[in-house]
């Protein structure tokens, strides 16, 4: 039974820029007609729904929609927008037992938070009608307008009633560090429904995308995403989120994980010297992290020396928290057959490919 696979990161997409309109109030469509971005972004193969969001962070990417070139369905519609083709290319092809949908359609980045909340609701209803109902192997993530804690909480309360939603979805770059209190209503709602918060690669909060300004290249954007993950873990731990919400669970999606052990060492050392500043953090940051965080594999770090892969897992000491993900249909997709090095022991492989996700998410709904 070594072949069981759960995929924790599948980016389903709408077939067109108007495909979500049946799920949106007419007023939203009328507003967008006035203030939304032009269709050019969609025409240029970026996923946008005619929104009004931050401007000025454009990087030509590796491929259209950052997708595998073979992931465009035969019907010519966007990658991962056609369920039959997704079944063929992903779910059936690799025997995926469960797949967690993580659509990234910008609901959290709308400058008009109410508009973002309406979009989030529409994305969630669209997932139910067009993905969850026809395909029992799929589960979904609750999209929220995460820059407004109360609106996000309201959507969590609304959507959580459907047990096929297994987590709340945020993006890793936000307007403020995620430990800040403006996000706490969102955490309160997630904890109340015992839903993990999945925080995914990407997003933009409004300022430069690194603490040293904007890089010039997509490769910097991609490599640099790990810095955003480090900063958010630091914020969540140091600002006391887990003291306030002791059952809250966080899943870091598409961030890699090689950086986390060094971050824990650094945090622990800083805490020993500076803990007087944050008396609410009453134990080692590494203990808090190992209790509250889960991680997905893709894009897994690949140390060139064989001994460094097991060393990386040993340093992390969270092998029971690492969960396999393909990132389908993106260009840096990981195949379940090739993602882990061949020499990974059977029990570790099984935990990462399947069991850890089964233990975290409510798949029985």
């Amino acid at each position: 039974m070594a072949d069981l696979v759960i995929d924790c990161d599948i980016h389903n997409a709408p077939t067109s820029q108007t495909a979500l309109h049946p799920y949106l109030p007419r007023s939203w469509q009328e507003q967008r007609a006035v203030s939304g971005r032009l269709d050019a972004a969609w025409e240029h193969n970026r996923e946008t729904l005619g929104d009004r969001s931050y401007l000025g962070s454009e990087y030509p990417r590796a491929t259209p929609r950052a997708a595998r070139t073979d992931s465009w369905p035969p019907n010519g519609q966007p990658p991962a927008s056609d369920l039959p083709f997704m079944r063929e290319q992903l779910l059936d092809r690799y025997g995926i037992e469960y797949g967690v949908l993580t659509p990234m359609l910008g609901a959290g980045e709308q400058l008009d938070h109410a508009s973002g909340a309406a979009l989030a609701t529409a994305i969630n209803e669209w997932q139910i009608a067009e993905w969850l109902d026809p395909e029992p192997r799929l589960r979904a993530s609750i999209n929220v307008a995460y820059e407004d804690g109360e609106l996000a909480a309201a959507e969590i309360h609304r959507a959580a009633a459907d047990p096929r939603f297994v987590q709340v979805l945020l993006l890793i770059r936000t307007a403020e560090p995620l430990g800040r209190r403006k996000y706490w209503p969102l955490y309160r709602a997630a904890a109340e429904h015992d839903l993990p918060i999945g925080i995914h690669f990407g997003g933009w909060g409004r300022g430069p995308i690194t603490s040293t300004g904007f890089g010039s290249f997509y490769i910097e954007d991609t490599v640099g995403m790990a810095t955003a993950f480090q900063e958010q873990v630091t914020s969540l731990v140091c600002e006391g989120v887990f003291q306030r919400f002791p059952t809250l669970r966080i899943v870091l999606i598409e961030g890699g994980f090689g950086w986390l052990a060094p971050l824990m060492w650094r945090l622990d050392r800083a805490w020993r010297q500076l803990r007087a500043e944050i008396p609410h953090l009453d134990r080692l940051p590494s203990e808090v992290i190992r209790e509250h965080f889960w991680l997905t594999t893709q894009p897994i770090e690949e140390p060139p020396r064989r001994q460094d892969w097991p060393a990386m897992l040993e340093q992390l000491d969270m092998t029971d928290r690492i969960m396999f993900a393909t990132d389908y249909p993106h260009w840096d997709f990981d195949s379940p057959e090739k993602a882990l090095p061949s020499y990974v022991e059977a029990d570790v492989r099984r935990a990462i490919m399947h069991d850890n996700a089964l233990g975290l998410y409510r798949f029985d709904g």
């Binding site: 690194t210 490769i219 910097e220 958010q232 600002e239 944050i278 140390p303």
Partner: protein
């Protein structure tokens, strides 16, 4: 104590106690401006003065002056106790926070002249880092030109947080000037840019700011490599100061992998990033940010993949969990210990007789 082993200290802080200290080194115009405006000089320090990370507990003022502010203090508290053969002064004065470019340039000039007159002229064990108005690349290049003739200045100091990453083409005049004079760039902890110190805004607490500094070093290395600084200038040398080093192996694993997938975008990057690091970048020791167990720390040092990367630093007068030679991981081979304590710095900075190899 393991005295007798040669030691070169690559990060000793010269601390400007107040703008008044710099007065003799400012021209009449700026002396008058400061007198009439009561401008206090840059005060956005990355080191809030009362924290144990900013000031090592137990360090007292020397002759009424704070640690780091005078040669007497540096001799008594840094050079002599460690038996340092040489030490490199760094000055984190926050010049980058001064928006007026002429004021920033004048203050940078004054800091360099102060270090030369008050420290270097009297103490042959000291070297220094050129402070520049770092947000003005052309003016920074001018200051490098002005100071480069003095061989006691061995590198260019750049705060690691910048408004635009240093690989960006805006900075090429600065990098070109450093390379033209064969001076390494020293990226140092800190940098008051006015912009958020994370990709996601302003954190609430200093401890976050402090921990997050590692991501600024990662972003700068990513930028310098991706923009081709090391390819355009095979002689370019960069040293990360007060950066920690435990994050570096995982960062190299990640960047090497992404480079294999996306190198078409940066065709000038003909070497994997990890190779660029090992050939052209060095990292100072303190603050040691690895795992506390010596054996685990040794694994991290080994994962750096080169015995030449680490340069000893005390980071005086800042505080750490272990100080001086005690900060070195226990159990290093004698040759690696020697390399970190002195030989790597001697080779990298070309200091005196090269005993390397």
């Amino acid at each position: 104590m393991a005295g007798g082993e040669a030691l070169i200290d690559c990060d000793v802080h010269a601390v400007v106690p107040s703008i008044a200290t710099l007065e003799p080194y400012l021209d009449d115009h700026w002396r008058e401006v400061i007198a009439t405006s009561q401008f206090k000089g840059p005060t956005d320090s990355p080191y809030p003065p009362t924290l144990p990370t900013s000031l090592r507990p137990g360090l007292e003022p020397v002759d009424g002056q704070p640690p780091g502010a005078t040669l007497a203090a540096i001799r008594a508290q840094a050079l002599d106790p460690l038996g340092a053969e040489l030490a490199i002064l760094t000055c984190s004065y926050g010049v980058e926070s001064v928006r007026n470019p002429d004021a920033a340039a004048a203050i940078a000039r004054a800091v360099n002249d102060w270090m030369a007159a008050d420290f270097l002229d009297h103490e042959p064990r000291l070297r220094a880092s050129i402070v520049v108005p770092s947000t003005q690349p052309a003016m920074a290049a001018q200051e490098i030109e002005r100071r480069a003739g003095d061989p006691r200045f061995v590198q260019v100091y750049l705060p690691v947080r910048s408004p635009v990453p240093y690989g960006n083409r805006n900075w090429w005049p600065l990098i070109d000037a450093a390379v033209a004079h064969d001076l390494p760039l020293a990226l140092h902890f800190g940098g008051a840019t006015g912009l958020p110190p994370t990709a996601s805004g302003w954190p609430t607490y200093y401890i976050e700011d402090y921990v997050d500094m590692a991501t600024a070093f990662q972003s700068q290395l990513t930028s310098l490599i991706a923009e081709g600084a090391f390819d355009r200038h095979p002689a370019l040398r960069v040293v990360l100061v007060e950066s920690g080093f435990a994050w570096l192996p995982a960062w190299m694993w990640r960047f090497d992998k992404v480079w294999r997938g996306l190198r078409r975008e940066v065709p000038w990057n003909t070497r994997p990033p990890s190779q660029v690091i090992r050939e052209q970048v060095r990292v100072t020791l303190q603050p040691v940010d690895g795992p506390p167990a010596p054996a685990a720390l040794q694994v991290v040092v080994d994962q750096l993949g080169s015995d030449e990367l680490l340069l000893f630093s005390s980071d005086y007068p800042h505080g750490h969990l272990a100080e001086g030679r005690d900060a070195l991981p226990a159990g290093l081979t004698p040759s690696l210990r020697r390399a970190i304590l002195s030989e790597n710095a001697r080779a990298f900075y070309r200091l005196g007789g090269d005993r390397h190899g």
